[in-house]
Amino acid sequence: MTATVLVPSVVSPVVVALYLPAIFTGIIIGLIGLFGISYQKNDLHALILTDIVGIGMLIIVAAVGTDLAESLVLPGLVVELAEIMAISELLMSREMRRLGKTADLIPLPLNLDMEVLTTAPIFLAIILVAYGAFLSGFTGGAVAGGGILFYVLSRLTRGVPSNTWEGLAGVSGIAWCLWLVGFLIFFAFPPYWLLALFLAAFGVFIKVTFKAGLVGVMGREEFKKE
């Protein structure tokens, strides 16, 4: 079986030996998930079990272990997340419709007004954003985005002005364009790779940071505006 797999000599035998077990693991996980779904009649449980099948997919893709495989792991993960979010939203909307009720996206019964909520979030958010800026790229974006999200969620209990949300959404869009432009430069003018790299890295950093803007759009619809 290994004869059909092209392996460069620099790869250590351990990694090569892991390939087949990993593929089988992925498929077995998928099968376990499918068995679970076939037994389970509750929709919510079926949804969670479906996610296990998706994780099997990630294992198989990751088993390849090259940079090309990495370029599929990320989109695969995103597809997986997008689908599970969409489907769970669907499930919720269906159940709400069945009950004839409406509900907030985050039904928090909080009405706290403590001083630490006004001072600490700013501080923590600044640290997270700064650390994220230092990391740059996807990971940095995630960290910095976490910071902003944390800030926003902590202030949520006192109501966030809707203008802030729309601003965030706009910046996120512009940053995404930067990222795209960076990639286009990679393809079209490879000599300017450094510029492209910076555009892409910081574009994606800002974009992931302001992914909170998406929450903002939801905020405008779902939360009570001030």
Binding site: I60, L68, L72, E83, F186, F187
Partner: protein, 225 residues
Amino acid sequence: MDISILGGQMLGIIPLGDIVLYFTPFNLFMFAAALAFTTLIAISKTESQVEAEFGTLKNREVKVDKSEFKIRRFLAIVCGLATAGAMVTGDLFDFTLFVALIAIVNIGIVAAVKEVDVLDSAFQYGLIAMIATLPLFGGAAIILASAGTISLLQLLQIPNSTMILYGSLLLFIGVAGETGVAPFFATKAEMFRTPGSPFLLIIHLSSLLVIVRTIEILLILNKPF
């Protein structure tokens, strides 16, 4: 093997770094068809239905309301563009990603109708689509591992092997689960008889075109000759 015995004379390639788009009359025709339908969907109004009212002699006109119309049109256009992309891409991962995108958007198009039955059908389709990501991406990954490349023009030169056959079978199952079954779930919820036909058309269109394209890809991967 030569690509020209499948889709006709090679008309040209667009090398975008790693991602190579190639054009044969076959790909070009399907690309143009997908784009033409997408354009039509973008500029069309939805049709309405006149139904007889029960108990009176009056008629009732059933229409798609504005907000639902906007979101469904947007999703349909995205789906059309993704289909067009899947028709010309010469890269297996690109193809799988386009197919996954089509699936997500199809879920959205079906789910935009806020009725319990329709949402139920969309939920089940969503589960199938999510399960199908395992064979879809898994198949592509196995092909990558066995051939060392995902460019279809390169794969054309690589001799057959059992693992590629296995990977392409998985890929086919994946495509069938992602978009192949979409029209049935739409039919299951009686979607094709609700107003908003231009948007439902794209579900059927993407499903059929992607399957035709998958057959080409499978023939490229497993060269019978």
